[in-house]
Amino acid sequence: MSIKIFVPIDSTALSLGANEVAEAILKEAQARKLDIQIIRNSSRGLFWLETLVEVETPQGRIGFGPVNPNDVKSLFDADFINSGKHPLALGIVAEIDWLKKQERLTFARMGITEPTNIDQYMAHDGFQGLKNALNLKPEAIVETVTASGLRGRGGAAFPTGIKWKTVLDTKATQKYIVCNADEGDSGTYSDRMIMEGDPFVLIEGMIIAGLAVGATQGYIYLRSEYPHALKTLNEAIHQATKAGYLGEDILKSGKAFHLEVRRAAGAYICGEETSLLESLEGKRGLVRFKPPLPAIEGLFGKPTVVNNVISLATVPIILAKGAKYYQDFGMGKSRGTLPIQLAGNLKRTGLIEKAFGITLRELLYDFGGGSLSGKPIKAVQVGGPLGAYLPESQFDTPLDYEKFSEIWAVLGHGGIVAFDETVNMAKMARYAFDFCAIESCGKCTPCRIGSTRGVEVIDHIMQGHDVKKHIALIRDLSDTMLNGSLCALGGMTPYPVLSALNHFPKDFGVDAKEPKA
């Protein structure tokens, strides 16, 4: 029997040469007349080890990484396919501490299966949640999701079950499930990993959402920067339709659900749910006034569930194992697990799914291994471009929505970007304003004008012009944006700006913390 060798097809693995590694392995094996089979699996999310090549053995899969194409010859010389010794050998992959210490619920299959192989999906507990949901009344599905404590993973952390209940209770001829796959936040990639690596779990979650609220049409609004996810999703939708999970009559239940992927077009604001709906309707992505809530008047004026990829992809395990199973993980009002994404200047970057409650310090040092550059970590930004910068003194904060808001920070979509001591925080604050100016939808003045003014004022500060006066101006401007913006783009840009200023005043040319205006 041929020996199975796994080479991930995730786009981060590809960005480091996984295709070239797979080709080199195939070529070398042919030259040596060895009987191997290459399987393109999803990525485990141990990105610092990519390309992570795995070989199936009776003891489990053993790993080698990071493998470059020019390592392949020496791997064969060491007889790596028969557990030969090699400097890149990592032992049994499932036993690697970094992976073993995680609690993988949403990401349970990640790295193990082939993304668009529906049989493998089923063999690894796939569609169990859907099968249970098909035996439940819509109200009972919604109650299960509510009882699990699941809160939206897209940023706002709104309880998913409560949103679903509103849509369920609103009578309409047509309802929609919209998956927010715009993943615009820098430092985040968990949505991409799910869509490229385990697309059926998202599809299953969306079907369950449809059953729960009475929606028969779903859309995945996918960021245009993710061409691989587009291909994978379309292939998975095709497979799921062929197998009877999507279409007019889901598993002969008499219930219908149709699913379509729509490509976004590179506007960060279209991640905001009402702007997203405008975009799906074919318009400019201007943010809508709320109310009405999308749950009542959403896509094409109909009741619509808008949920993030991770929220939806977490629903199947909740329906499969029960609300209590999920809600037993976590702390306080943050139940379950969060797929955390380590990014920026860290030695060991990648996807860590852990119950809420782990501290930043554990993530940055125990998992992350400290900075890649070897210099001290000066600041981390958590929660994307609208998230606060945290200094070392706050690294013991546990990951929990409420604990973060107590220190005027956010968890957002779970992205953590680390900066070493070479970063200039005034420059990062300037960037936050600049990004807001570039991405503003233009509907309200504090955001549209304020962000551009913010860049100018920070330029003065960075040039040392009348620093005290300009810092007061920044605080004033931030106040206006915080209180006067229609959505969180304008309303939260002050988070990175003021946290940078408050925690790192030296970078702005002042010694101590200025009193708040």
């Binding site: 981060t12 590809l14 094409f300």
Partner: protein, 161 residues
């Protein structure tokens, strides 16, 4: 470089895509994608055709095309090089990489090299933040890009053309 009339093959392509998308709910953005994927950009000369087919005003079509960073109204170079400028890539030296690329290509963002090979664009996160800094060339992402790696990629593009 706006042309007075559409090239016949572009006209035909646009008409074909309009026919395919006309009856789809919220058709405009999928249609613009199809046109740009096919001919490389969305010519302003296509606006009247699109607006007629989707019962929109030309101003509305123009408004949508210009709202979204992804859509282009001019033919780009043969390859598109997007450099990530977002936070994780900044933490790993994208500023220096950006400067190096601009110098090497002799262009600023949104410009095309004199030989028509490469259009340079900024981008804000490619979802490759675990291996910053990142760039995207056409539809492929490259991670942990340093000066040496980008020089190699650029010379590959120039010779591939």
């Amino acid at each position: 470089m706006t042309e007075a009339v559409l090239k016949p093959q572009d006209y035909q392509a646009i008409e074909k895509h309009i026919a395919a998308f006309q009856s789809m709910p919220g058709a405009l953005i999928p249609l613009l994608h199809a046109i740009q994927d096919d001919i490389g950009y969305v010519p302003e000369l296509a606006y009247p055709l699109i607006s007629k087919a989707l019962s929109l005003s030309v101003a509305e079509v123009h408004g949508v095309v210009t709202f979204y960073h992804h859509f282009r109204t001019h033919q780009p170079g043969r390859h598109i090089l997007q450099v990530c400028l977002a936070e994780s890539c900044q933490a790993m030296g994208s500023d220096a990489l950006e400067a190096h690329i601009k110098k090497k290509l002799g262009v600023e963002f949104h410009e095309t090299t004199a030989d028509g090979a490469i259009t340079l664009e900024p981008i804000y996160c490619l979802g490759n933040c675990a291996c910053s800094p990142s760039v995207m060339i056409n539809e492929e992402v490259y991670g942990r890009v340093d000066n040496k790696k980008i020089d190699q990629l650029i010379s590959d593009l120039k010779s591939a053309s």
